[in-house]
Symmetry: C3
Subunit: 127 residues, 3 copies
Protein backbone atom coordinates (compact mmCIF):
# COMPACT_ATOMS: atom_id res chain seq x y z
CA UNK A 1 0.00 0.00 0.00
CA UNK A 2 3.04 2.35 -0.18
CA UNK A 3 2.05 3.68 -3.62
CA UNK A 4 -1.55 4.27 -2.49
CA UNK A 5 -0.28 6.07 0.63
CA UNK A 6 2.06 8.29 -1.41
CA UNK A 7 -0.77 9.25 -3.77
CA UNK A 8 -3.07 10.00 -0.80
CA UNK A 9 -0.38 12.27 0.69
CA UNK A 10 -0.07 14.03 -2.71
CA UNK A 11 -3.84 14.60 -2.80
CA UNK A 12 -3.72 16.02 0.75
CA UNK A 13 -0.79 18.29 -0.18
CA UNK A 14 -2.72 19.57 -3.21
CA UNK A 15 -5.72 20.25 -0.95
CA UNK A 16 -3.60 22.10 1.63
CA UNK A 17 -2.27 24.18 -1.29
CA UNK A 18 -5.86 24.99 -2.32
CA UNK A 19 -6.57 26.00 1.31
CA UNK A 20 -3.62 28.42 1.29
CA UNK A 21 -4.93 29.97 -1.95
CA UNK A 22 -8.37 30.52 -0.33
CA UNK A 23 -6.69 32.36 2.54
CA UNK A 24 -4.75 34.52 0.09
CA UNK A 25 -7.91 35.20 -1.95
CA UNK A 26 -9.66 36.41 1.26
CA UNK A 27 -6.94 39.04 1.60
CA UNK A 28 -6.71 39.93 -2.10
CA UNK A 29 -10.48 40.39 -2.58
CA UNK A 30 -10.77 42.02 0.90
CA UNK A 31 -13.50 39.73 2.27
CA UNK A 32 -13.85 40.16 6.05
CA UNK A 33 -14.10 37.16 8.43
CA UNK A 34 -16.56 35.39 8.86
CA UNK A 35 -18.23 36.39 5.57
CA UNK A 36 -17.91 34.05 2.58
CA UNK A 37 -20.35 35.61 0.10
CA UNK A 38 -20.76 38.85 -1.83
CA UNK A 39 -17.51 38.78 -3.86
CA UNK A 40 -17.46 36.66 -7.01
CA UNK A 41 -13.66 36.34 -7.13
CA UNK A 42 -13.33 35.09 -3.56
CA UNK A 43 -16.39 32.85 -3.81
CA UNK A 44 -14.81 30.99 -6.74
CA UNK A 45 -11.74 30.10 -4.65
CA UNK A 46 -13.90 29.30 -1.61
CA UNK A 47 -16.26 27.05 -3.56
CA UNK A 48 -13.48 25.29 -5.54
CA UNK A 49 -11.82 24.42 -2.22
CA UNK A 50 -15.04 23.40 -0.48
CA UNK A 51 -16.03 21.17 -3.40
CA UNK A 52 -12.60 19.50 -3.23
CA UNK A 53 -13.19 18.74 0.47
CA UNK A 54 -16.58 17.27 -0.47
CA UNK A 55 -14.97 15.01 -3.12
CA UNK A 56 -12.08 13.97 -0.82
CA UNK A 57 -14.77 12.57 1.49
CA UNK A 58 -15.45 10.05 -1.30
CA UNK A 59 -11.89 9.72 -2.60
CA UNK A 60 -10.12 8.84 0.66
CA UNK A 61 -12.19 5.79 1.72
CA UNK A 62 -12.58 4.71 -1.93
CA UNK A 63 -8.84 4.64 -2.73
CA UNK A 64 -8.05 2.92 0.57
CA UNK A 65 -10.67 0.19 0.08
CA UNK A 66 -9.87 -0.20 -3.63
CA UNK A 67 -6.13 -0.47 -2.91
CA UNK A 68 -6.76 -3.07 -0.22
CA UNK A 69 -9.47 -5.23 -1.86
CA UNK A 70 -8.95 -4.70 -5.62
CA UNK A 71 -5.39 -3.76 -6.57
CA UNK A 72 -3.02 -1.23 -5.04
CA UNK A 73 -1.42 -0.14 -8.34
CA UNK A 74 -4.83 0.35 -9.97
CA UNK A 75 -5.95 2.41 -6.95
CA UNK A 76 -2.75 4.50 -7.05
CA UNK A 77 -3.27 5.18 -10.76
CA UNK A 78 -6.91 6.20 -10.16
CA UNK A 79 -5.62 8.46 -7.38
CA UNK A 80 -3.30 10.26 -9.81
CA UNK A 81 -6.26 10.71 -12.19
CA UNK A 82 -8.25 12.24 -9.29
CA UNK A 83 -5.42 14.65 -8.42
CA UNK A 84 -5.07 15.70 -12.08
CA UNK A 85 -8.85 16.20 -12.37
CA UNK A 86 -8.90 18.31 -9.20
CA UNK A 87 -6.05 20.49 -10.48
CA UNK A 88 -8.04 21.16 -13.66
CA UNK A 89 -11.21 21.76 -11.62
CA UNK A 90 -9.57 24.32 -9.34
CA UNK A 91 -8.06 26.24 -12.25
CA UNK A 92 -11.33 26.06 -14.18
CA UNK A 93 -13.47 27.29 -11.26
CA UNK A 94 -11.23 30.13 -10.05
CA UNK A 95 -10.88 31.62 -13.56
CA UNK A 96 -14.27 33.11 -14.63
CA UNK A 97 -13.30 32.57 -18.29
CA UNK A 98 -12.67 28.86 -17.88
CA UNK A 99 -14.86 25.88 -17.05
CA UNK A 100 -14.89 23.49 -14.10
CA UNK A 101 -16.88 20.64 -15.72
CA UNK A 102 -14.07 18.60 -17.31
CA UNK A 103 -11.96 18.55 -14.16
CA UNK A 104 -14.96 17.53 -12.07
CA UNK A 105 -15.86 14.69 -14.45
CA UNK A 106 -12.28 13.34 -14.54
CA UNK A 107 -11.91 13.29 -10.75
CA UNK A 108 -15.36 11.85 -10.08
CA UNK A 109 -14.93 9.14 -12.73
CA UNK A 110 -11.91 7.88 -10.81
CA UNK A 111 -13.95 7.88 -7.59
CA UNK A 112 -16.85 5.97 -9.18
CA UNK A 113 -14.53 3.37 -10.76
CA UNK A 114 -12.91 2.75 -7.37
CA UNK A 115 -16.31 2.40 -5.63
CA UNK A 116 -17.72 0.03 -8.26
CA UNK A 117 -14.61 -2.17 -8.46
CA UNK A 118 -14.48 -2.41 -4.65
CA UNK A 119 -18.17 -3.33 -4.49
CA UNK A 120 -17.66 -5.98 -7.22
CA UNK A 121 -14.71 -7.62 -5.46
CA UNK A 122 -16.17 -7.53 -1.93
CA UNK A 123 -19.67 -8.70 -2.94
CA UNK A 124 -18.40 -11.57 -5.13
CA UNK A 125 -16.01 -12.67 -2.34
CA UNK A 126 -19.06 -13.27 -0.13
CA UNK A 127 -20.99 -15.36 -2.72
CA UNK B 1 -14.29 -6.32 7.04
CA UNK B 2 -16.11 -7.12 3.73
CA UNK B 3 -19.53 -6.20 5.17
CA UNK B 4 -18.18 -2.94 6.60
CA UNK B 5 -16.56 -2.11 3.25
CA UNK B 6 -19.78 -2.82 1.33
CA UNK B 7 -21.78 -0.56 3.69
CA UNK B 8 -19.15 2.20 3.34
CA UNK B 9 -19.41 1.95 -0.47
CA UNK B 10 -23.23 2.19 -0.15
CA UNK B 11 -22.90 5.33 1.98
CA UNK B 12 -20.52 6.85 -0.60
CA UNK B 13 -22.92 5.95 -3.44
CA UNK B 14 -25.80 7.61 -1.55
CA UNK B 15 -23.64 10.71 -1.08
CA UNK B 16 -22.66 10.84 -4.78
CA UNK B 17 -26.40 10.61 -5.54
CA UNK B 18 -27.03 13.59 -3.22
CA UNK B 19 -24.24 15.49 -5.06
CA UNK B 20 -25.92 14.84 -8.41
CA UNK B 21 -29.22 16.16 -7.01
CA UNK B 22 -27.48 19.38 -5.85
CA UNK B 23 -26.17 19.89 -9.40
CA UNK B 24 -29.65 19.35 -10.82
CA UNK B 25 -31.16 21.74 -8.24
CA UNK B 26 -28.67 24.44 -9.33
CA UNK B 27 -30.08 24.17 -12.84
CA UNK B 28 -33.74 23.85 -11.81
CA UNK B 29 -33.69 26.85 -9.43
CA UNK B 30 -31.41 28.78 -11.84
CA UNK B 31 -28.65 29.61 -9.31
CA UNK B 32 -25.54 30.87 -11.09
CA UNK B 33 -22.01 29.62 -10.22
CA UNK B 34 -20.36 30.38 -7.76
CA UNK B 35 -23.39 31.61 -5.76
CA UNK B 36 -24.93 29.30 -3.15
CA UNK B 37 -27.38 31.62 -1.39
CA UNK B 38 -30.50 33.62 -2.18
CA UNK B 39 -32.80 30.76 -3.29
CA UNK B 40 -34.53 28.75 -0.58
CA UNK B 41 -35.17 25.70 -2.79
CA UNK B 42 -31.54 25.37 -3.92
CA UNK B 43 -30.16 26.14 -0.45
CA UNK B 44 -32.09 23.21 1.00
CA UNK B 45 -30.41 20.78 -1.43
CA UNK B 46 -27.02 22.44 -0.95
CA UNK B 47 -27.23 22.37 2.86
CA UNK B 48 -28.60 18.80 3.04
CA UNK B 49 -25.62 17.66 0.93
CA UNK B 50 -23.07 19.73 2.84
CA UNK B 51 -24.36 18.45 6.18
CA UNK B 52 -24.02 14.88 4.90
CA UNK B 53 -20.37 15.55 4.01
CA UNK B 54 -19.88 16.95 7.53
CA UNK B 55 -21.38 13.79 9.09
CA UNK B 56 -19.44 11.42 6.79
CA UNK B 57 -16.29 12.97 8.30
CA UNK B 58 -17.40 11.31 11.57
CA UNK B 59 -19.00 8.20 10.07
CA UNK B 60 -16.09 6.97 7.94
CA UNK B 61 -13.36 6.75 10.63
CA UNK B 62 -15.93 5.64 13.23
CA UNK B 63 -17.26 2.67 11.22
CA UNK B 64 -13.74 1.61 10.22
CA UNK B 65 -12.41 1.72 13.80
CA UNK B 66 -15.59 0.14 15.24
CA UNK B 67 -15.49 -2.64 12.64
CA UNK B 68 -11.84 -3.34 13.38
CA UNK B 69 -11.76 -3.03 17.20
CA UNK B 70 -15.34 -3.81 18.29
CA UNK B 71 -17.24 -6.06 15.86
CA UNK B 72 -17.53 -5.88 12.08
CA UNK B 73 -21.19 -7.02 11.91
CA UNK B 74 -22.21 -4.48 14.58
CA UNK B 75 -20.38 -1.74 12.66
CA UNK B 76 -22.00 -2.79 9.36
CA UNK B 77 -25.45 -2.71 11.02
CA UNK B 78 -24.76 0.76 12.47
CA UNK B 79 -23.66 1.80 8.97
CA UNK B 80 -27.02 0.76 7.52
CA UNK B 81 -28.75 2.77 10.26
CA UNK B 82 -26.62 5.80 9.29
CA UNK B 83 -27.50 5.43 5.58
CA UNK B 84 -31.23 5.12 6.42
CA UNK B 85 -31.03 8.19 8.68
CA UNK B 86 -29.28 10.20 5.98
CA UNK B 87 -31.92 9.23 3.41
CA UNK B 88 -34.64 10.50 5.77
CA UNK B 89 -32.61 13.64 6.53
CA UNK B 90 -32.11 14.52 2.84
CA UNK B 91 -35.82 14.05 2.06
CA UNK B 92 -36.81 15.99 5.17
CA UNK B 93 -34.50 18.94 4.45
CA UNK B 94 -35.18 19.33 0.72
CA UNK B 95 -38.98 19.33 1.25
CA UNK B 96 -40.01 22.58 3.04
CA UNK B 97 -43.11 20.79 4.45
CA UNK B 98 -41.09 18.03 6.10
CA UNK B 99 -38.58 17.93 8.92
CA UNK B 100 -34.91 16.99 9.02
CA UNK B 101 -34.59 16.33 12.77
CA UNK B 102 -35.51 12.62 12.93
CA UNK B 103 -33.12 11.64 10.12
CA UNK B 104 -30.31 13.61 11.71
CA UNK B 105 -30.88 12.00 15.12
CA UNK B 106 -30.95 8.47 13.66
CA UNK B 107 -27.71 8.89 11.69
CA UNK B 108 -25.85 10.66 14.48
CA UNK B 109 -26.95 8.09 17.09
CA UNK B 110 -25.24 5.41 15.00
CA UNK B 111 -22.08 7.57 14.84
CA UNK B 112 -22.03 8.17 18.59
CA UNK B 113 -22.60 4.47 19.39
CA UNK B 114 -19.65 3.56 17.15
CA UNK B 115 -17.37 6.19 18.75
CA UNK B 116 -18.29 5.19 22.33
CA UNK B 117 -17.98 1.42 21.73
CA UNK B 118 -14.59 1.93 20.02
CA UNK B 119 -13.37 4.11 22.90
CA UNK B 120 -14.58 1.50 25.44
CA UNK B 121 -12.80 -1.41 23.72
CA UNK B 122 -9.53 0.43 22.97
CA UNK B 123 -9.23 2.09 26.39
CA UNK B 124 -10.02 -1.12 28.32
CA UNK B 125 -7.50 -3.06 26.16
CA UNK B 126 -4.75 -0.76 27.50
CA UNK B 127 -5.69 -1.17 31.19
CA UNK C 1 -2.68 1.59 16.87
CA UNK C 2 -4.85 1.77 20.06
CA UNK C 3 -3.44 5.19 21.04
CA UNK C 4 -3.97 6.55 17.52
CA UNK C 5 -7.54 5.23 17.53
CA UNK C 6 -8.29 6.78 20.94
CA UNK C 7 -6.96 10.17 19.76
CA UNK C 8 -9.03 9.93 16.54
CA UNK C 9 -12.16 9.22 18.63
CA UNK C 10 -11.33 12.25 20.82
CA UNK C 11 -11.01 14.44 17.71
CA UNK C 12 -14.39 13.16 16.44
CA UNK C 13 -15.98 13.79 19.86
CA UNK C 14 -14.63 17.36 19.84
CA UNK C 15 -16.05 17.85 16.34
CA UNK C 16 -19.49 16.46 17.35
CA UNK C 17 -19.37 18.94 20.27
CA UNK C 18 -18.67 21.78 17.81
CA UNK C 19 -21.65 20.57 15.70
CA UNK C 20 -23.94 20.74 18.74
CA UNK C 21 -22.75 24.30 19.41
CA UNK C 22 -23.60 25.32 15.81
CA UNK C 23 -27.12 23.97 16.29
CA UNK C 24 -27.48 25.92 19.53
CA UNK C 25 -26.11 29.08 17.88
CA UNK C 26 -28.76 28.75 15.13
CA UNK C 27 -31.42 28.93 17.82
CA UNK C 28 -29.73 31.63 19.91
CA UNK C 29 -29.10 34.00 16.98
CA UNK C 30 -32.49 33.07 15.43
CA UNK C 31 -31.19 32.07 11.99
CA UNK C 32 -33.88 30.21 10.03
CA UNK C 33 -33.17 26.98 8.11
CA UNK C 34 -31.70 26.73 5.44
CA UNK C 35 -30.01 30.14 5.72
CA UNK C 36 -26.39 30.32 6.92
CA UNK C 37 -25.51 33.97 6.28
CA UNK C 38 -26.60 37.40 7.47
CA UNK C 39 -25.80 37.06 11.19
CA UNK C 40 -22.20 37.61 12.27
CA UNK C 41 -22.56 35.68 15.54
CA UNK C 42 -24.01 32.55 13.92
CA UNK C 43 -21.64 32.71 10.96
CA UNK C 44 -18.65 32.54 13.31
CA UNK C 45 -19.91 29.26 14.82
CA UNK C 46 -20.88 27.91 11.40
CA UNK C 47 -17.53 28.76 9.81
CA UNK C 48 -15.44 27.53 12.76
CA UNK C 49 -17.24 24.18 12.51
CA UNK C 50 -17.03 23.99 8.72
CA UNK C 51 -13.32 24.78 8.78
CA UNK C 52 -12.80 22.00 11.32
CA UNK C 53 -14.54 19.54 8.95
CA UNK C 54 -12.23 20.76 6.16
CA UNK C 55 -9.13 20.15 8.32
CA UNK C 56 -10.35 16.74 9.57
CA UNK C 57 -10.33 15.70 5.89
CA UNK C 58 -6.53 16.11 6.09
CA UNK C 59 -6.09 15.00 9.70
CA UNK C 60 -7.86 11.63 9.56
CA UNK C 61 -5.91 10.00 6.69
CA UNK C 62 -2.68 11.71 7.82
CA UNK C 63 -2.77 10.38 11.40
CA UNK C 64 -3.77 6.90 10.23
CA UNK C 65 -0.97 6.69 7.64
CA UNK C 66 1.58 8.32 9.98
CA UNK C 67 0.64 5.94 12.80
CA UNK C 68 0.96 2.94 10.51
CA UNK C 69 4.09 3.82 8.51
CA UNK C 70 6.03 6.20 10.79
CA UNK C 71 5.33 5.69 14.51
CA UNK C 72 2.03 5.27 16.35
CA UNK C 73 3.08 7.22 19.47
CA UNK C 74 4.38 10.13 17.36
CA UNK C 75 1.10 10.14 15.41
CA UNK C 76 -0.97 10.03 18.62
CA UNK C 77 1.03 12.97 20.05
CA UNK C 78 0.53 14.97 16.81
CA UNK C 79 -3.17 14.13 17.09
CA UNK C 80 -3.34 15.66 20.57
CA UNK C 81 -1.62 18.79 19.20
CA UNK C 82 -4.26 18.94 16.44
CA UNK C 83 -7.13 18.63 18.96
CA UNK C 84 -5.60 21.36 21.17
CA UNK C 85 -5.11 23.63 18.14
CA UNK C 86 -8.72 23.10 17.03
CA UNK C 87 -10.01 23.92 20.52
CA UNK C 88 -8.09 27.21 20.43
CA UNK C 89 -9.28 27.88 16.86
CA UNK C 90 -12.95 27.35 17.72
CA UNK C 91 -12.76 29.63 20.77
CA UNK C 92 -10.80 32.23 18.79
CA UNK C 93 -13.21 32.26 15.85
CA UNK C 94 -16.50 32.29 17.79
CA UNK C 95 -15.40 35.20 19.99
CA UNK C 96 -15.19 38.42 17.87
CA UNK C 97 -12.60 39.83 20.29
CA UNK C 98 -10.21 36.91 19.90
CA UNK C 99 -8.17 35.53 17.04
CA UNK C 100 -8.29 32.23 15.20
CA UNK C 101 -4.78 32.31 13.64
CA UNK C 102 -2.75 30.64 16.41
CA UNK C 103 -5.13 27.69 16.75
CA UNK C 104 -5.19 27.19 12.99
CA UNK C 105 -1.38 27.24 12.75
CA UNK C 106 -0.96 24.74 15.61
CA UNK C 107 -3.44 22.24 14.18
CA UNK C 108 -2.20 22.55 10.61
CA UNK C 109 1.46 22.22 11.65
CA UNK C 110 0.60 18.81 13.14
CA UNK C 111 -1.11 17.82 9.87
CA UNK C 112 1.83 18.92 7.72
CA UNK C 113 4.37 17.12 9.96
CA UNK C 114 2.34 13.90 9.65
CA UNK C 115 2.09 14.23 5.85
CA UNK C 116 5.80 14.97 5.38
CA UNK C 117 7.02 12.20 7.73
CA UNK C 118 4.70 9.67 6.03
CA UNK C 119 5.95 10.73 2.59
CA UNK C 120 9.55 10.45 3.77
CA UNK C 121 9.13 6.92 5.17
CA UNK C 122 7.04 5.54 2.29
CA UNK C 123 9.17 7.06 -0.51
CA UNK C 124 12.48 5.95 1.04
CA UNK C 125 11.10 2.43 1.59
CA UNK C 126 10.66 2.13 -2.18
CA UNK C 127 14.20 3.27 -3.05
Amino acid sequence: MEYVTIVIMLALTQYVWFSIQVGRARGRFEVQVPSISGNDGFERYFRAHQNTAERLVVFLPAIFACGYFVNSLFAAAMGLVFVAGRGLYFRGYTDPDKNRSAGFAIGESANILMILSTLFVTVTSLL
